[in-house]
Amino acid sequence: MRVYTTGMKLPSQTEYELLVVLAPRELPGRTVAQRYEEQTGRGIAYGTLYTTLRRMTEAGWIKARDDEDEDGRVRHFKVTGLGDRAITEGRKTFSALATLGLSPRRAG
């Protein structure tokens, strides 16, 4: 069984989780942090969150949009077409990794 299906850069675990959180719709950074904590059970610091999201923006997986409210700047993030592909590839890869080395019967 081949684990890496294509030649495209694959997301790390945190990047994949953030992509999955952002997949349904555009969200501001604070809501992303809250949803991430709800879905994974692990908190994420704002510095880690924003640097990871910046790295993902540079990779072309998400798009960032700046806005203003009464507390100052708000940054909204949205998954791009490339990000959707990264989610699909990540899902395939993580599924393949999870069943790597198991007999077909145990892998289900």
Partner: protein, 186 residues
């Protein structure tokens, strides 16, 4: 019909006449006893003291006219209001402005960053302000809010500094490139 006693003026109370005598004594007089020069500040000070003493006298007289029964009820009502306001403060009322000064203090760290990093810090500080407001709405304690804000600020600045340090190190790590740069080769 009860006859009310006239109000007693306290002995240390200066009357208008006393003030006028003091004022004239402090000024320069000519041979006929007239004031030669009156500076504007001195005159203003005199008018201010006069007005203040008059208000104090009026308040003292007004207070003395109130009957003891009425004064007792008034004090009782004031005490009840005081107790109620103390209960409001100790109860579930939201705490205003807790942590706002701390957030503004922590926002000073944004000046150590530039470009995209500063934009990230601004966005994250807005999020921290929202967190503080939410914690105030949930009536969290002051110490809890402060420690949470400090933790969040730490979690904001440290990864940014770490990412920048990593980038600098990754730029410098190819020593051959650095040596070539020092030697002037391309």
């Amino acid at each position: 019909m009860s006859r009310r006693k006239p109000a007693k003026v306290p002995p240390d109370f200066l009357t208008n006449e006393d003030l006028i005598i003091d004022f004239v004594a402090s000024q320069e007089l000519d041979e006929a006893g007239r004031i030669v020069t009156v500076s504007k500040p001195a005159l203003m000070t005199y008018v201010y003291h006069l007005a203040k003493r008059r208000v104090e006298l009026q308040m003292f007289l007004a207070e003395s006219q109130v009957s003891p029964v009425k004064r007792y009820y008034r004090e009782a009502i004031r005490f009840l209001f005081m107790v109620q306001s103390t209960r409001d403060q100790a109860g579930a009322a939201p705490r205003p402005l807790t942590g706002d000064r701390l957030v503004s203090l922590l926002s000073g760290g944004r000046y150590f960053f530039g470009g995209e990093d500063r934009k990230i810090v601004d966005a994250a500080l807005g999020d921290i302000k929202k967190d503080a407001r939410e914690m105030r709405r949930k009536c969290c304690g002051v110490a809890h809010i402060r420690s949470a804000l400090l933790t969040r600020a730490f979690g904001l600045y440290v990864p940014l500094v770490w990412a920048n340090a990593k980038r600098i190190v990754s730029e410098l790590l190819p020593l051959r490139k650095v040596i070539s740069w020092f030697m002037g080769h391309k």
